[in-house]
Symmetry: C2
């Protein structure tokens, strides 16, 4: 692991131990020997799934995001449960959010979303050869989402006009454009 | 602004008022009338700059990210100061982190990085026609970064092998590939 310019921890002040996030303030030694403080959010990590239909459309969900006080259009995603492998989370979240399974699940890459203050990393998967699950597991009781299928040109237009702004979803759409030959049959 | 499935705030419990982030726990009314709690991180927002050299290379910085306990390779970026316009932040941060100015600054798009728990949005700009500033403004005293110029193929290989994982930087590299005709002279 790359430790260039490492900031060594002098002390950690726990600030909040929530249901999803933990917040702490670390006092660190900088590379020049001085000290500084770092406000840090610890998050369990998440997966994002890029579900592509046989017709080459992307399945997205619209949901309200309280942090931003508006609803966003995003690829299906969800937090890792303790000890859960990302591939397992991805299968579960795809089922819960879309009612679908996938005969082809491919790991794409892992992204760090907000490295300046949070350790959240999202593991991205491509889901293809989708099928409807007869009795899918349902969403958490505090989740409300609306499903949409959008084609690539529509998704790109939505990025251009700001209707899609979620980072993982922007990456999903760019990936589709760069891999257009693999998304249409 | 899209308010579908809006979660109305019943009460807000302030948890932490830090130098950079604020943390709060909101009690909300869900679309079905039930209540739920939301753990929220408020962040001032940031810019990310995609500086492209005359030779079509991307300028990136390597820096230690305490939240992740490792150093990351990222496009130059920085937080908005109160009341500052993103374009102003972008010019300032490019100068501080790279010692460069740009004769051509173009707004690309704004991304929401972690909508599940944080309101951080990053405004992305493309910086071209770069020039060295004789006496550039310096970094904040707790910032240590190393500059690198990488060509597109190298950047793509670094995404593939995990050496680049920062979301805004992944978007920057994908943008370059999709706009290859505009980055080489």
């Amino acid at each position: 692991m790359n430790k260039k310019f490492e900031e060594k921890t002098i002390s950690t002040e726990p600030i909040y131990n929530g249901r999803i996030i933990k917040v702490q303030k670390d006092l660190v030694t900088l590379p020049n020997g001085k000290t500084a403080s770092r406000e840090l959010v610890k998050h369990p990590g998440a997966v994002g799934i890029i579900p592509i239909t046989a017709g080459g459309k992307l399945i997205v969900v619209e949901q309200y995001r309280k942090a931003l006080e508006r609803s966003l259009i995003e690829i299906p995603a969800g937090k890792l449960e303790p000890g859960e492998k990302p591939a397992t989370t991805a299968i579960r979240e795809l089922e819960e959010e879309t009612g679908m399974g996938a005969n082809q699940f491919d790991y794409l890459q892992t992204i760090a979303t907000s490295p300046g203050f949070a350790n959240e990393e999202i593991h991205l998967f491509i889901a293809r050869d989708l099928y409807k699950i007869a009795q899918p597991a349902s969403l958490d009781e505090d989740e409300f989402v609306e499903l949409m299928e959008i084609d690539l040109e529509e998704a790109e237009a939505m990025i251009a006009n700001g209707a899609i702004s979620d980072a993982k979803t922007v990456i999903a759409v760019m990936w589709m454009r760069l891999n257009i030959q693999s998304i249409k049959k």
